[in-house]
């Protein structure tokens, strides 16, 4: 164990050394020994935050703990905090965030909602970190999964809560978009949020309102949602008047691409009005995109052509 430790401190991806430790630990399986392995890999990660072997070793240890010990929930919380600490120094660290996403499958619904709340501030301070927003999407999807499997009387309450979470995230995202001009990660997050709200939650509303409890009614008006999004896109596109400012130009491009995304994602059955509104906006958007992002001309042409009249 001493030799492998020395080796790993020098060459952290030396898999054979990590494996030899796994072999020895498998024969003992005591919590203190497993915790030691977490300490060693945390030490390695403090200076090599991208070490694939170190992250993989942690997952192996946690799987061992999950089988034998009841401290799992507490360990999951600590792991999540560890990732956040490492992510502070190592931006968009794929392995770190992947590890955090992996933890989500071990979380209870309460933990999922708690994580969403706790990680919000951090995300708001790291708006260029696409990985942290992907993590939020993972949490939100996990929460939604839970709803789909809920069959009890509380299902409409659960739905209302879930819808609130989604709506809050959209509002918060919009405030960040206006504050931090031209950040791709924020717009990508919005693509996901709108798409899900319109495609999946609207259909749930229909199902829930049939069981109707008046207290539980939620008004998802797709029309006004779309109007709101179009307004937002319009306000971001017109700030391009002085195209010298890179951030504003990026904002215009991202908002325009976002609108094209919506036109592609909204299925026909949502109503002709919406399709008309989107189509009306598409012409300007395409012109602007081709001017400021000519490298992707073929893509813009294709996407617009996708929705042209038969």
């Amino acid at each position: 164990m001493i030799h492998s430790k020395a080796l790993l401190l020098l060459s952290c991806d030396f898999a054979t050394a990590w494996n030899s430790r796994k072999l020895i630990v498998s024969n003992k399986r005591l919590l203190p020994i497993l915790m030691d392995e977490l300490h060693l890999s945390a030490l390695v990660l403090s200076y090599s935050p991208k070490s694939e072997q170190a992250w993989s070793h942690r997952r192996w240890v946690i799987n061992m703990i999950a089988r034998n010990c009841s401290t799992l929930q507490w360990i999951i919380e600590r792991e999540s905090e560890l990732v956040e600490k490492i992510a502070e120094r190592s931006k968009m660290n794929y392995r770190a965030w992947n590890h955090r996403c992996w933890l989500v499958s071990f979380m209870t619904r309460e933990q999922v909602l708690d994580e969403l709340k706790k990680s919000r501030n951090w995300s708001g301070l790291h708006v260029a970190d696409n990985s942290c927003f992907h993590y939020r999407r993972r949490l939100m999807l996990r929460n939604l999964e839970g709803f789909c499997y809920t069959q009890d009387n509380n299902s409409s309450g659960y739905f209302v809560e879930t819808y609130q979470i989604w709506k809050e995230e959209l509002d918060w995202n919009e405030s960040l978009i206006k504050q931090y001009v031209g950040r791709e990660a924020l717009w990508l997050h919005r693509r996901f949020l709108s798409m899900y709200l319109i495609k999946h939650m609207a259909t749930h509303l229909l199902a829930v309102s049939c069981q109707s409890k008046p207290k539980a009614s939620v008004d998802i008006d797709i029309d006004s949602l779309m109007d709101h999004e179009l307004c937002l896109v319009h306000s971001c596109s017109t700030t391009i008047a002085d195209a010298n400012f890179e951030d504003f130009q990026a904002q215009a491009i991202h908002s325009a691409a976002y609108m094209l995304w919506l036109t592609k994602q909204i299925p026909e059955y949502q109503g002709i009005d919406i399709q008309e509104k989107l189509r009306a906006g598409v012409g300007d958007v395409t012109r602007m995109l081709k001017r400021s992002c000519p490298d992707r001309s073929s893509l813009w042409d294709y996407l617009v052509g996708y929705h042209s009249e038969p």
């Binding site: 060459s11 054979t16 992947n98 990508l188 693509r191 294709y302």
Partner: protein, 314 residues
């Protein structure tokens, strides 16, 4: 536009191959077999595979084989699918795949398929779509693809598809160009590309091109030459490569060369390494840069090597 300093790169790769005692080499000792694949495939694309001693390379590779049938990154290390694929690919370059006991190697890989169709990298159980690609690619070269449950393998890969059309390393994982290459490549080899939403994924992939012409691997990241391979080969496999600006990408790759000492780095003016040298040259080959052998986007081997495997009479 600059030019490809092919001779310099050949010299660079050979010098790296010889320097076994440098600190850099020792610290990378555990993945030397991957290094062999990157270096030798680059030499082959540049038409200079004969610059190395074939016997030497092959005998060393065979010493990396473990009794389980899998290959390790170097002699005495633990086996893993990562090195098993590199071993088979390097042998393919020399048209010596048949010196292997194909059943033995296949059994190692087959034993790593899990119930949900995914693949573990080794006996310690880590799952990643990279390992799915490795399994499918390797078994395909060994012509033993029927030994695994291909349908289940495809099903698992599809479960890793995200809402943006991309793929992550496990279900729910963030889309990443490297993982996307692995998933698309695996589906291509398994004849299951119809599961890919080509427009959606093509869109995500072409958004990887930044102003300088280089490609990044995820939103908001810096461009890196290695993505010239992963993004580009994926675009080619789904037939959407016309959605990026190819000339600008060529220029970016050429700017990443060290014109004095040879080798290619991740972005202009950084230090070079074999990994990025391979991906830069492979990317240029996909972009049909003159003087380079064409490379297969799914197998990541020269096209003539792939043809030899599947079309020559045995």
């Amino acid at each position: 536009m600059g030019e490809l300093a092919a001779d310099k790169h050949v010299k660079y790769i050979i010098s790296v191959e010889k320097k076994k005692d440098s600190f850099e080499s020792v610290v990378m000792e555990h993945l030397r077999l991957n290094g062999a694949y990157w270096g030798l495939t680059t030499l082959d694309i540049l038409g200079k595979l004969d610059a190395v001693d074939e016997e030497d390379v092959i005998s060393w590779i065979l010493k990396c084989q473990d009794e389980s049938g899998g290959f390790a990154g170097n002699i005495g290390h633990d086996p893993h699918v990562l090195y098993t694929l590199s071993a088979v690919q390097v042998l393919a370059l020399f048209d010596k795949v048949d010196i292997l006991d194909a059943d033995k190697v296949s059994n190692y890989i087959v034993g790593l398929q899990n119930e949900d169709g995914s693949f573990s990298g080794d006996i310690w159980g880590e799952v990643d779509t990279r390992f799915s690609y490795i399994a499918i690619c390797c078994l395909s070269i060994l012509q033993r693809l029927d030994k695994i449950n291909v349908d289940k393998a495809v099903e698992y890969i599809v479960s890793c598809k995200n809402l943006d059309g991309g793929f992550g390393c496990t279900p729910g994982g963030e889309s990443h160009a490297g993982q996307i290459f692995c998933c698309v490549g695996a589906l291509a080899i398994a004849g299951a590309l119809h599961h890919v939403d080509k427009d959606l994924l093509g869109w995500w992939l072409c958004e990887r091109q930044v102003k300088s012409g280089g490609l990044n691997g995820r939103p908001e990241k810096l461009p890196d030459v290695c993505y010239s391979w992963w993004v580009l080969s994926s675009l080619i496999m789904i037939d959407r490569v016309h959605w990026i600006n190819k000339d600008k990408l060529v220029k970016f790759i050429l700017d990443c060369q060290d014109m004095e000492n040879g080798g290619i780095s991740d972005r202009p003016d950084d230090a070079v390494d074999v990994f990025h040298t391979y991906f830069g040259v492979a990317g240029l080959s996909l972009l049909e840069y003159p003087g380079l052998k064409p490379i297969d986007p799914a197998y990541a081997l020269p096209v003539d090597v792939v043809n030899r495997i599947f079309f020559s009479k045995k």
